[in-house]
Every structure is written in structure tokens, then in C-alpha cells.
């Protein structure tokens, strides 16, 4: 589904990612872990098309297409979803409107008719219940005045409704209390499917207790220094990041 080859990315003159290689197949969950400043967020931003980064070398292929050539909204319509580390407040634009506009853009992109208003409402309300959210959130402005946990839940709500193929989750667990983490994890687990892949970027191992990854990669100094199975996360939890960084150096 996603193939990252020798990806080098800079911000200004400063190289951040220095040759990332990663193959992700449908149905897989990959966790990308690493210390602060290792380039984790840069990777998720570059995949979703945020401005301000320069790709100096390498390629990213998504479903046999060059992902880096697409505008952010085209990536989103093609099924790439970024759950933000810091979801943005959009005063004046209602949550439900954004959901509907997003869903309809995807349908239009795929040559489908707009969603029926009643079907849409039923779908949204189902997902709201799944994430144990208050229906009132739908009619409030996007993320405005939401608590940290509510914002993260709102990201997963959008993901559940838009049904993306590639979900990139940027530090979804940071700022969540244990109850919210459980709800968010259940939401994500319910979305696991053989034709969907997840990339979970996280500093903490805790999230991986609830969402079990197939692969764990350790990012340090802009490179993947170690890859392994779910056990690697436990080892990192026990020993910290320094041993992998040293081993790589």
C-alpha cells in the first residue's frame, strides 16, 4: 500500500529525515517510536502533505501513485488520513458540516453520488456512540473549546466516518487519560481491517498495550535504526531509547 524509499526531508537547510525506508501492506499496523526530535512528526506531516518541508531525495508510493505529487486534499480523498497531534480549532465551521463536506468530497472523487442526509445522520450517530461522545459535539464548531481528550476523540470520529485506507496517527496517546485512551483504542481497533493500514507515531509504549502493532520501528536522528515485532516496544519501555541509538551509532 505504502512504499517509502530512501526518503530525505529538510526544513530550510536542516536535514530532518535522512533516508527512511518503509514498506507497509494493507491490514498491517506499524508503530513508529523514537525520542523527541527524532523526526517522527516530520514523517507524518510529509506523508499528509503539510507545507514547509522539502523532499531532497527518495520517493513515496501510495497505491502505485506518487504520493508526494498530490495536494493534501487529494491525498485525503485518496484515503490517507492524518489524526493530528494537536487538532486545530476552526471557529464558525460546525463539526457536522465538515464531516459531511469531507465525506462528500471523497465520494465525488470516487465517482459516487452525495450521501443521503438521513443515512449520513444515522452513520454519524452510530460512530458518536462508539466513541462515547455527546451528540452536541456534532453541532459545535470544529474542536472549539474541546478538551484535549475530546479533540483526540473527534479525530477518531472523523476517521471512523471517512473510512480511510491509510491512517496516520500522530502522537494520539499524548494528553489522553487512561479512560479516554481506552475509548480511542477501541475506536481504532474497530476500524482494523484487512484492507486498511495504520501508522502510529508515538513516543509512549502505553498506546501499544491497547492497539497491538505488527511491526515496531525505532526512529532516531532521522533514520530507522531498528525494526522488530511488538516485543520491541516492550524492550524500549524497559531500557529507554539510548541503547538503540548507541547501537546504531
Amino acid at each position: 500500500m505504502l512504499s517509502i524509499k530512501n526518503l530525505h526531508v529538510s526544513v530550510g537547510d536542516k536535514p530532518i529525515l535522512k533516508g527512511i525506508n518503509l514498506e507497509i501492506k494493507a491490514g498491517e499496523i506499524h508503530a513508529i517510536m523514537g525520542p523527541n526530535g527524532s523526526g517522527k512528526s516530520t514523517l507524518s506531516h510529509v506523508l499528509s502533505g503539510k507545507g514547509g518541508y522539502t523532499v531532497t531525495q527518495g520517493s513515496v508510493t501510495y497505491q502505485d501513485k506518487n504520493l508526494l505529487e498530490m495536494a493534501p486534499e487529494i491525498r485525503a480523498r485518496e484515503g490517507v488520513f492524518l489524526a493530528f497531534q494537536y487538532p486545530v480549532e476552526i471557529p464558525g465551521v460546525s463539526n457536522i458540516y465538515l464531516l459531511k463536506a469531507a465525506l462528500n468530497s471523497i465520494r465525488k472523487h470516487n465517482g459516487q453520488p452525495e450521501v443521503d442526509a438521513m443515512d449520513f445522520l444515522t452513520l454519524v450517530k452510530d460512530k458518536v456512540r462508539l466513541l462515547e461522545m455527546d451528540e452536541k459535539f456534532l453541532y459545535r464548531a470544529v474542536n472549539e473549546g474541546f478538551s484535549g481528550g475530546e479533540k483526540k476523540r473527534n479525530e477518531i470520529l472523523q476517521m471512523a466516518i471517512l473510512e480511510p485506507k491509510l491512517c496516520i496517527m500522530d502522537e494520539t496517546d499524548s494528553g489522553l487519560d487512561i479512560d479516554a485512551l481506552k475509548i480511542v483504542s477501541e475506536g481504532v481497533n474497530s476500524l482494523r481491517s484487512p484492507d486498511r493500514a495504520f501508522v502510529m507515531v508515538t513516543h509512549y509504549q502505553r498506546l501499544l498495550d491497547y492497539i497491538k502493532p505488527d511491526f515496531v520501528h525505532v526512529l532516531a536522528h532521522g533514520q530507522i535504526v531498528k525494526s522488530g515485532g511488538a516485543d520491541l516496544a516492550l524492550e524500549l519501555e524497559e531500557k529507554g531509547y539510548s541503547w538503540v541509538e548507541e547501537a546504531a551509532a
Binding site: G49, A71, A76, L82, V88, I90, A101, A141
Partner: protein, 440 residues
């Protein structure tokens, strides 16, 4: 100061003064003469005056706009008129500064309420007008006020007696149709003790260059409630001066919604005097495109203790448009326990758009709560990216954020028919495809 131009206007004045209402009233004649003298001594305000620093009205000086003595209304397009007229409202129509009974809708008024043209009021209740005319708007403020007193040809007069609650809106629809025409109108709104009234001033015109010079004086009686809306949708070549001067008695409430959308050069004054425990709320939205210059000048005088004021002005400026916000809050030495907040937020959509904003707090009391804030910025790139990551294309994302920014002020209107009318005007100024009401 340009007294040469002033003398052109005053010379012409001698030829039209006979046609102005109230000529038979000695007090008004004297008041007008005093105003003419004041205007000819000072001319129009100059950018050297602090309150006019950012707004140069020399365009008005260069042209000689002339008052219209022709009272025919045949050239007012009925459909166009209807599009600006509110339903379920009493509507007083002024065409080129003259009341048109034919176009107005004033039937079914409660007997105790006066809603009439200023000329009518001067004929039917001159002593009542005498009591209020010039009691809130002061000639010494600047010469547009003196100009208005001298030249006004008509206007709206509203007097709501004590305890009466008017549930219908009163609209004064101000239309200018003449080329190089000038419409000078004076409005007076009086709400006696515990009365409740809502008035909307609508300013529209044809495509030509013309001058509107309107002054509205509002008197909010003890524990009374007045809401004043202003829809300024003048033509893009027009000059507009509109001043609202409000005096609030003890415990009185006043709300102003100022929508400044039109005009080549438009200036509004909103000055409020607050008595003991009275409250005022000033809301404003200005949208400038092309080479428009839109100036809003507010002043809130906290004269007595325990009064509350809230002010929020938002501006969206595109192309080479220029916005000006000057907001002054003055807290007198007696006005302890004053609670005041003033905010001005601006969105600049192009590199050539400009805003000059100057909030001022002058506090002479020592036990008060006053805050003010200003922002000038562009659309937030983080918000645009967030919307893009949710499938919205960049242009639509920009329009959506701009519209949402402006719509906060439209949403403050609780009367649905009026809300929808204003929204229509806002949407008309976002001509981009895909901008729609559903975003709300």
C-alpha cells in the same frame, strides 16, 4: 480645514435653505444658522485632527455634491427597493433625503407611538423635537455634525412612550438615486422609561458617486432597551458619513450592530454616554474590497458607576482596501466599578490591504475592570492545512475560514428575517463558488 470648499457649500446653501423643513420655527432657524457659521469657519474635518488622522475626506471637498429638491420617486426600481425592505416591519423610506409616503409602510402603528418623518415631526410636535435635536450630537465634535444640522432635509423621528414594547422592527431605508447628489438626514429615536424598540438604518444607492451625511441621536430612557442596526450598503463610488450619538439613562440598555460594507469612503461614528448601571454592546463588521476606505470610530463614555460596555469590531480587508478602527473608552473619575471590554480583530486577505487600528483606554477612576485587545492577521495556515487534510481544497478552505470569521458578527442578530437579510449581503460579498450557508 478647507474653508474655500466650505464657502462653495455655504454659498449654495443660501439657494436651498428655503426648502428645508422647519423654516417657520425660530429656534430651528437660529440653530441652523449657528451650524452654518460653524461649518463655514472649519470646513470638513482635516487629517490634522486626531480623530480624522486616517481618513481624508478631501474627495468630498473636490466635488460639490448638491441636495436634491426634486421629490419624484419614479426612478426608484420597485424590485430593488423590495430587496432591501424588511418584511413585518414599519418602513420609512427616504429618497435623496426626502420622505416618500408612497414608498413607506407605516400603517397599524399603536396610537401612542410616533414613527414619522422628521419634517412631519417638526410640523406636528415641534417642541418635542426641540428638546432632543442636538442634545446628543454636539457641533463641537467635528464639522460633519454642524453640516448635518444645517443641511438636513428630513429623517426619521421615533418616540416610544414609557413601558411600551414594540415587537415590530422600524426600518429607515435611505436611498440615493441622483448623480452627484447629496442626502443629508437627521434621525431621532426616543425610548421613554422601560420602553423597548428596535430600529434598523439601511443605506443604499445607485451606482453613481453621491454623498450621504446622516446623524442619528438616540435617547434611551431609564431602564429602557434600544437596539439599533445599521446596514451600510452604499454604492462603491459613494461617500458616506453616518454618526450615531447615544445617551443612556440609568439602568438603560443599548445594543448596536454596525455592518459597514459599501462606499468608496465610509465613516461611522458611534458615541455612547453611559449613566449609572447602564449597559451597552457595540458590534461591528466591516468588509472592504477594491479601493474602499472604511472607518469606524467608537467612543464609550463611562460617566457613572457600575456601567458595563462590551465592544467587538471585526474587519475583513481584501485587494487595496483600507480599514480604520478607532475605539475610545473613557472612564470618568466617578465611574467606579466600570466593567469594559473592547476588541478589534482584523483579517487581511491581500498584501496591499491595510488596517489602522487604535484602541484607547482613558481611565480616571481607580476601581474598574477594563480590557482591550487588537489582532491583525492573515488566515491561519494551520487551519487551512487541517481543512485540506479533511478533503477540502485550499481555496474553499480559505473562503470557509474567512466567511466563518465574518459570520460571528451576523450570528449576533437574533431576529431571523434581519439575520437572513444581512447574511445575504455578506454572502454577496463572497462571490467565490462554493461559499454557502451550510457551513454554519
Amino acid at each position: 480645514m478647507n474653508t474655500a470648499t466650505a464657502s462653495r457649500y455655504t454659498a449654495e446653501y443660501q439657494t436651498i435653505v428655503f426648502a428645508l423643513p422647519g423654516q417657520a420655527l425660530p429656534w430651528l432657524k437660529a440653530f441652523r444658522s449657528e451650524a452654518v457659521a460653524q461649518f463655514s469657519a472649519h470646513g470638513f474635518p482635516s487629517p490634522r485632527e486626531e480623530e480624522w488622522r486616517y481618513t481624508n475626506v478631501s474627495g468630498i471637498e473636490k466635488k460639490l455634491f448638491s441636495p436634491s429638491l426634486d421629490l419624484t420617486v419614479s426612478d426608484v426600481d420597485a424590485e430593488w427597493l423590495k430587496s432591501h425592505q424588511l418584511e413585518n416591519a414599519w418602513v420609512l423610506v427616504l429618497v435623496n433625503g426626502h420622505f416618500s409616503a408612497e414608498l413607506s409602510v407605516l400603517d397599524g402603528l399603536p396610537e401612542a407611538v410616533s414613527v414619522m418623518s422628521m419634517a412631519d415631526a417638526l410640523a406636528k410636535q415641534p417642541s418635542n423635537v426641540e428638546k432632543y435635536l442636538g442634545a446628543a450630537a454636539n457641533h463641537s465634535e467635528h464639522s460633519f455634525i454642524a453640516f448635518n444640522t444645517a443641511w438636513f432635509s428630513d429623517g426619521l423621528f421615533v418616540h416610544v412612550p414609557a413601558k411600551l414594547v414594540l415587537d415590530r422592527l422600524i426600518q429607515v431605508l435611505h436611498i440615493v438615486t441622483g448623480v452627484d447628489a447629496m442626502a443629508t438626514t437627521r434621525n431621532i429615536i426616543i425610548a421613554d422609561e422601560m420602553a423597548d424598540v428596535k430600529v434598523i438604518e439601511t443605506y443604499v444607492g445607485n451606482d453613481s458617486a453621491y454623498l450621504t451625511a446622516a446623524v442619528t441621536e438616540v435617547f434611551v430612557g431609564q431602564n429602557a432597551d434600544v437596539t439599533l442596526y445599521k446596514m451600510q450598503c452604499e454604492s462603491e463610488k459613494a461617500y458616506h458619513f453616518g454618526g450615531s450619538y447615544i445617551k443612556q439613562a440609568r439602568d438603560a440598555r443599548f445594543t448596536h450592530h454596525n455592518f459597514a460594507f459599501g462606499g468608496l469612503l465610509a465613516r461611522s461614528d458611534i458615541h455612547v454616554d453611559l449613566d449609572h448601571a447602564s449597559e451597552c454592546e457595540l458590534n461591528g463588521l466591516y468588509l472592504g474590497i477594491k479601493r474602499q476606505h472604511i472607518d469606524n470610530h467608537t467612543r464609550i463614555n463611562h460617566l457613572k458607576p457600575h456601567a458595563i460596555s462590551r465592544e467587538l469590531y471585526k474587519g475583513v480587508l481584501d485587494d487595496r482596501a483600507r480599514g480604520v478602527f478607532q475605539g475610545r473608552v473613557i472612564v470618568a473619575v466617578d465611574a467606579q466599578k466600570t466593567d469594559s471590554q473592547m476588541n478589534n480583530r482584523n483579517l487581511l486577505l491581500s498584501d496591499d490591504a491595510e488596517v489602522d487600528t487604535k484602541p484607547q483606554l482613558e481611565i480616571y477612576a481607580d476601581d474598574v475592570k477594563c480590557a482591550h485587545g487588537v489582532t491583525v492577521g492573515q488566515l491561519d495556515e494551520k487551519s487551512i492545512f487541517y481543512l485540506q487534510s479533511r478533503c477540502v481544497d485550499e481555496e474553499t478552505a480559505r473562503n470557509m475560514l474567512t466567511f466563518a470569521f465574518a459570520n460571528e458578527m451576523v450570528d449576533k442578530i437574533k431576529i431571523k428575517s434581519l439575520h437572513d437579510k444581512v447574511l445575504e449581503q455578506v454572502l454577496a460579498r463572497f462571490p467565490q463558488e462554493g461559499v454557502n450557508k451550510e457551513w454554519l
